[in-house]
Each structure stands twice: as structure tokens, then as C-alpha cells.
Symmetry: C2
Subunit: 245 residues, 2 copies
């Protein structure tokens, strides 16, 4: 088995018209990253990915440089890009930032959101609950993300949205991979309803607190399953930590 891109299906991106090749490569890697196709700690090599994607090393080089700059990949000491390992300590810090940023976005959204957006968020919220009921981790993850970003997009703050996306890109690989490994409990989903309620009544501070509670609620459960240190991870054993307590 080649060391790079264990879960990445072979593709061919060479024939896509006008958009630059490195852009497609970037999107492809990013997509697979969010979908949890890469194991945290796994090495991502230039030529390995180039072979998988059917391109030369050059577009991959640019895509990796971009992902490293966005902190979606880590640059190890030997300059090899690796999928970052989110430790419990790092995740706790990330959640503090998320509460600040996503709380602000929810606050702004409460004052600017339209009824149409509200209805769409309601539907997404129902999808999330349904997926949670079915223990369908994959669509839960996708729909939950879609619902949250529908809220944040309503804030009409592109820079803020951009930064929130960057954070989700960082934690996406680990969380999604975690949900592939650990049986999804079907909890959460109840913390989404207060967000919609606050939004519908246009209460900014209530929306902020609802988002903060949603993030905190997920955190206290997740940190138990995250590794405490980023050493000896990504060798095929799994995410580590206290998997069964």
C-alpha cells in the first residue's frame, strides 16, 4: 500500500477546461479531507498524490502549499505534509475561538436573516435530527455543517464566514474520521433547535449563547475521544486516547 492518500480514490483531473489544474487538485484534496478520507497523522506526499490524481507533481505542490498555509495540513519537521492531529487541548482552544467567531456570526445573523433563510434552516435542522435518529453519521455531519453555515451566511459577513470555514476545515478531518471509527451516539441535534428559535425571534444575544452551548455541548463529549498528544498517531492504530472507558 502506498503511503499517501490511503482512502483517496483514483481520479483524473486533467481535462477540466479553463479552471487551473491546481485549483481542481486543491478542491479534490480539500473535499477528501473534510470527508474524513485521510487518517489524522497520515503523510501526504507530492508524487503519491500526483499519481493518484493523474497529474504531474506541480499542481499538487501548489495545492499542498495552499492547504498548509490554511493550516488544513501540517508541515512536519522533514517538510512532509501531514494531516493534522487535533489533540484534546487543541480542540478546547479551537472551541473557544469557534464560540467567539460563530457566536458573533449568529448574533449578526439574527438581525439580518430573512424568512426564506429561516425556513431553509428549519428544513436542514429536521434533516440533521433525522440523520441523528438513524445513526447516519455521514449525512448527520454533512447536514449539520450545511445548517450551521446557512446561519453564518445569513450574517452577511464574508470575512467572518471565511474564517469560520477555515476552522471547520482544520477540525473536519479529525472529527469526521472519528465518527467513522467510533459509533455515533445520536446525541446532539437537540442543541440546534434553540439556535433556530433565537434566530426566528431575532434575539442576537440568545442566538450567540445557543451557538456557544451547541459548541460546548459537543466539545465535552468529543475531548474524551481525542488524543492527548500528537505523537505516535497516524500509524494505522487509530486516533488513540481512551477509546473505551
Amino acid at each position: 500500500m502506498p503511503s499517501a492518500a490511503a482512502g483517496l480514490a483514483d481520479t483524473n483531473l486533467s481535462g477540466n477546461g479553463d479552471t487551473p489544474l491546481h485549483e481542481n487538485v486543491y478542491q479534490e484534496i480539500r473535499r477528501n479531507l473534510i470527508a474524513g478520507q485521510f487518517q489524522p497523522g497520515e503523510a501526504v506526499t507530492l508524487r503519491g498524490l500526483a499519481a493518484k490524481l493523474g497529474t504531474s507533481a506541480m499542481p499538487v505542490r501548489e495545492a499542498l502549499r495552499r492547504l498548509v498555509a490554511e493550516r488544513a495540513l501540517d508541515l512536519g519537521s522533514n517538510r512532509t505534509a501531514r494531516v493534522p492531529v487535533v489533540t484534546s487541548a487543541k480542540y478546547a482552544e479551537i472551541c473557544e475561538v469557534r464560540i467567539a467567531l460563530e457566536g458573533l456570526a449568529a448574533d449578526k445573523a439574527a438581525l439580518l436573516i430573512s424568512d426564506a433563510e429561516l425556513d431553509r434552516i428549519d428544513n436542514l435542522c429536521a434533516d440533521v435530527s433525522a440523520a441523528a435518529e438513524r445513526h447516519d453519521a455521514a449525512t448527520y455531519f454533512a447536514k449539520n455543517q450545511e445548517m450551521h453555515f446557512a446561519v453564518y451566511r445569513a450574517a452577511r459577513a464574508p470575512l467572518l464566514l471565511d474564517m469560520i470555514e477555515g476552522i471547520w476545515l482544520r477540525i473536519g478531518p479529525t472529527l469526521n474520521y472519528l465518527f467513522h471509527d467510533i459509533r455515533f451516539a445520536g446525541r446532539a441535534a437537540a442543541t440546534n433547535a434553540p439556535i433556530v428559535d433565537a434566530l426566528r425571534t431575532r434575539q442576537g444575544s440568545a442566538a450567540r449563547e445557543a451557538v456557544a452551548h451547541d459548541i460546548s455541548h459537543a466539545m465535552v463529549w468529543l475531548v474524551q475521544h481525542l488524543p492527548q498528544s500528537d505523537e505516535h498517531v497516524g500509524n494505522g492504530i487509530g486516533i488513540g486516547g481512551n477509546k473505551e472507558s
Copy 2:
């Protein structure tokens, strides 16, 4: 005059031992960006910079890709990298995010800061005031930045610090260039003292509010001098907007 890197002095980065060349190129461009050596809206070309820096186009290509990913440069429609033009609307949004992020950092710093760090911040604060008295915009800018980051570093939150650095990198070019153009008024500097006071008494929420006030105070003055749209900027005329009202 070549179109790229108008204010960038010729350098030679080729002989620097072990660190990769593209890393040095990145640092060099970033340094010049923060120092206001590039005009907002100015085009930054591959071969132009390569010639200036005495390297081939390859390291420059990677450095630019990285800076674009960090939003320190914009990628125009014709795929040419440009120094971003921070409009007054964008700056207002940035300040909201800054208040959320830097406020959080100040809050955390108040609980973790050491006396030695507090003394160092005190000294930097004095330097800032002295530079403001002398109307010395360059050192005011540098010392003010150093002082703020000394506070944020005391929060012991590397991810948070990283994001704050990213934001300063975005607004640095415009603000610094603005201060080169417009006579620096010597205001501000009085808003730094409350930050230090709150830190010294370990009052987190007070530190947060002091930082928020510092950011808002600078904003209301700056937005008047920022352009309202990013069109027709960077053609050598200047930053635009209502320069003399």
C-alpha cells in the same frame, strides 16, 4: 518602471543555507507587505519579484500561493496577485472580528500573564506613546504592534494568536501605507493604557473591553481615510477616498 514591487529593494536570497528558498522569499515579501512597501492594489508578478529577489520564478510562485491562501494577497480575475485594497466596509467587518478575537485573547491573558510580561508591555506602551509624540509613524506602528502581540502572546493560545496575526497581515499593508501617505495625527496611544491597567489588576472582562475600545477608537478615524470601493485603486494615484474633507 517595472510594474511589480515598486518599493521593494533588490535583494539576493539565494545563498541562505538550510531553510528553503521559498520560505525566505515568503518572509521577505511578508516583511515588505507589513512595512507598507507595496501600494494597495498594486500587481505582484512572478517574474518581476523573481528578478528583484535574484531567484527563479519557482520559489516566488510558492510564496505567492501561500500569501494568497492567507488572504495577504488577492487573486485578481486574470489570476494576477494584487495587494488587497481594504475598503471602509471591509475594515469595519474586520474590526468586528478583531474585537471578538483580540478581546478573547486579552481576556485570557489577564488570567495568565506574568509580572515580567506586564513590565515588558509597560515599556512597549511607553515606546508607543513616545513615538506618537514625535509623530514617528513607522516606529509607532511597529511598537504598537509589538505591544499588542505581547498581550496576546500572554494568552498562551497559539491558534488564537495565529489567527490574529493573519488579520494583522491583511490590514497591515493598507494601514501602514496609509500612514506613509497621510500625516499621522499622534492620536491613539491613550487607548493602550486601560489595557495595561486591566491586565495588571487581572480583570479579564475589563481587558476585553479596553481592547474593544482601542480597536473601535482607531476604526472611527481610519474608515474616513479608506476607500469606499476597490475599483480604480493602485494606479499610482493613491488610496483614494475623501482624502481632504
